[in-house]
């Protein structure tokens, strides 16, 4: 059952030197209970895509295209209608659990806030519910955590509190924007396992935004690879990682050091650096760094080429991209 259907989504940000398109023609869908990984480097537009879905793009941003969530069009929805959805039907988990929590309110009060807003619970009833939610995210001492202020918790504990806050009203979609980037790897593994466990348990869909393909590899059903505001490739995780049909995805896979490779083995490098938004011209954003680039790559946006099973690559030479090593 389709939960979310995004068609030709674009986000234009007003910058001093004129508007800049940071997300360009993103098209994807998500079924209930499914998990989607959104992978990209800095400036790829991954966070802006996530914020646009929540209706939280920065003031002045222009959103184009269509976002249908549970059959309702969100792009044209009023702020009131979006507010009713946010925190209730769809929720978000942010990267920095330290700054994403208000330092002056007790953790329990913050976890309880969506319940007060959307379920009409009294503050005390919501606080009691918050303690149960904190227990569900496996905080060691939920009662203590609920009464604590954010600064008194560790990074991992704070992120668990954020997750508790997100799942409070039983959302159908949770968007996690780099939820573990600020955490240690061991904590990262536990947090990702927790999110995935909750997904299976509640049937909610998860969008996991990350800069690391490997994080997505172990935790998602499908993946979107973003570069310079464009969805370069999308499809089932195991297909995209084993047989990428986009040169960017392929290059990323080859550039990544893997434990187990011989010491000092040369990594395949991608020349240059990711483009800044205003540098992306009319062509493919990866054209300047790609080894398959031909003239048309620099002048026209690449077409979407489908390879079956929902595997799509935006590349002029998609058919010629070889298997990953």
């Amino acid at each position: 059952m389709t939960l979310l259907e995004v068609t030709d989504l674009s986000v234009d940000l007003p910058l001093p030197r004129g508007a800049v398109r940071v997300v360009d023609g993103a098209t994807f869908r998500l079924d209930a209970g499914e998990s989607l990984g959104v992978v990209g480097e800095s400036g790829s537009g991954k966070t802006m895509t996530a914020l646009a879905l929540m209706g939280l793009a920065p003031e002045g941003a222009r959103i184009g295209g269509s976002i249908r969530f549970e059959g309702r069009e969100l792009v044209s929805s009023s702020e009131e209608a979006m507010r009713a959805l946010r925190g209730d039907r769809m929720a978000m988990i942010f990267q920095e659990p330290m700054t994403a929590l208000n330092p002056l309110h007790r953790v329990g009060v913050q976890v309880a806030e969506p319940l007060v807003l959307h379920r009409g619970l009294s503050r005390s009833a919501a606080f009691g519910e918050a303690v149960r939610l904190l227990e569900r995210v496996r905080l060691a001492d939920p009662e203590r955590a609920a009464h604590a202020y954010p600064f008194a918790l560790s990074g991992g504990e704070r992120q668990r509190a954020m997750i508790a806050m997100a799942i409070g009203c039983g959302p159908r979609l949770v968007i996690a924007d780099e939820p573990t980037t600020a955490l240690d790897v061991t904590v990262q593994a536990r947090i990702l396992a927790l999110i995935d466990g909750l997904r299976v348990e509640t049937g909610m869909a998860v969008i996991l935004v990350s800069h690391d393909l490997a994080v997505v590899a172990g935790n998602c059903d499908r993946v979107l690879v973003l570069y310079g505001g464009l969805v370069m490739e999308s499809g089932p995780v195991e297909v995209v990682l084993r047989a990428p049909k986009n040169p960017y995805t392929r290059a990323l896979l080859e550039a990544r050091p893997e434990p187990g490779a011989p010491r000092g083995a040369r990594l395949k490098t991608i020349p240059g650096a990711p483009p800044r938004h205003r540098d992306v011209g009319a062509g493919c954003p990866f054209a300047a760094r790609c080894e398959l680039t031909v003239d048309v790559c620099r002048t026209a946006r690449p077409p979407s080429v489908a390879f079956g099973a929902g595997h799509v690559s935006r590349c002029w030479r998609a058919a010629e991209v070889g298997e990953a090593p």
Partner: protein
């Protein structure tokens, strides 16, 4: 929290002790002989010595400091050299004007600053914000005593609505209050300009924090997020600046009292300076120091009540 209070209290008392020592040192050690100054250059050495003895000036410094402090603690401020009367009632009478004036100015500026600061922060970069910023620039540039004089010109000289100055006494509270309104506005407007800028920038900083995005992601409305999440976070810096500005407010009150011929602490100090009545000046300065340091102590405690991080951080 109790521990925090105790620590702040200890710092507060220590600060007062140091302040009193400095005030005493500047006022008592540096000048020549107060008795000589009072009697003028024609006085005989015997007369100077006699007066000096009467005033206790021949005692060792530490004894005089001790007596002064002990007196202050008991509310005994000593005897004025010039009037020969106890100082406490003099100060009491002037405080009855200066304290209400300062309080009115403070309340006025806080109210104006909160309203204008919230308004401007909510419209960052738009016309309303620019107008508020422009007005605060003007408010910062206008000297409070000039504003006071301008108000006298408008309301007393041209419109003849109020008398140009003087104080009718608290026997008639309404008239007394009326006499303080213009001075309070003159004082409060300049303070409001400073506080508005602080409120605006503290709020803008809070609005940019990640937790505001979290609040919006929960479905909290923009307005509710501002009042419930941003404002408490902006309050601590605003309170701190208010505490620091209090000393300047008192200083401004001294000048503005002069414009309106209000017999407050400022007039008392200026008169005592021209009378060479050192002990009165010393008492007044110390009293102001106590007020300022005391208010900042209260601000510290208030900030700790708002922010749990401050409470937990014991030195």
């Amino acid at each position: 929290m109790a521990l925090y209070l105790l620590q702040r209290l200890a710092v507060f008392v220590a600060t007062l002790v140091i302040a009193s020592a400095i005030v005493f040192a500047v006022m008592e050690i540096l000048p020549g002989d107060a008795a000589e100054t009072l009697l003028g250059p024609t006085a005989t050495p015997e007369a100077v010595a006699a007066l000096g003895h009467k005033l206790g000036l021949d005692l060792p410094l530490y004894v005089r400091y001790g007596r002064w402090i002990a007196g202050l603690a008991r509310g005994d401020f000593g005897v004025s050299y010039a009037y020969g009367s106890p100082i406490a009632p003099l100060i009491g009478a002037s405080l009855a004007i200066s304290l209400p004036l300062a309080a009115m100015a403070m309340a006025l500026s806080a109210a104006m600053a909160l309203a204008a600061g919230v308004y401007a922060a909510g419209r960052r970069g738009r016309a309303g914000d620019a107008v508020v910023i422009g007005l605060t620039q003007v408010g910062l540039a206008v000297p409070n005593f000039w504003l006071a004089i301008l108000m006298v010109i408008v309301f007393a000289v041209w419109l003849r609505l109020v008398p140009a100055g003087g104080f009718p006494g608290w026997a008639d509270p309404a008239r007394a209050f009326g006499a303080l309104i213009l001075p309070a506005v003159a004082l409060g407007v300049v303070q409001a300009a400073i506080l508005t800028r602080v409120t605006r920038s503290a709020l803008i900083e809070a609005l940019d924090e990640d937790y505001m995005r979290t609040a919006r992601a929960k479905g909290v409305s923009r307005r509710a997020a501002l009042w419930r999440h941003a404002l408490p976070n902006a309050l601590a810096p605003v309170l701190t600046i208010m505490g620091l500005q209090f000393a300047n407010l008192i200083a401004g009150a001294i000048v503005v009292e002069n414009v309106f011929v209000l017999p407050g602490l400022g007039r008392l100090m200026l008169q005592s300076i021209s009378n060479r009545d050192t002990l009165v000046v010393e008492d007044c300065v110390m009293l102001i120091a106590i007020l300022v340091i005391g208010l900042n102590f209260v601000v510290d405690v208030a900030c700790a009540a708002i922010d749990p991080r401050l409470r937990s951080r014991s030195a």
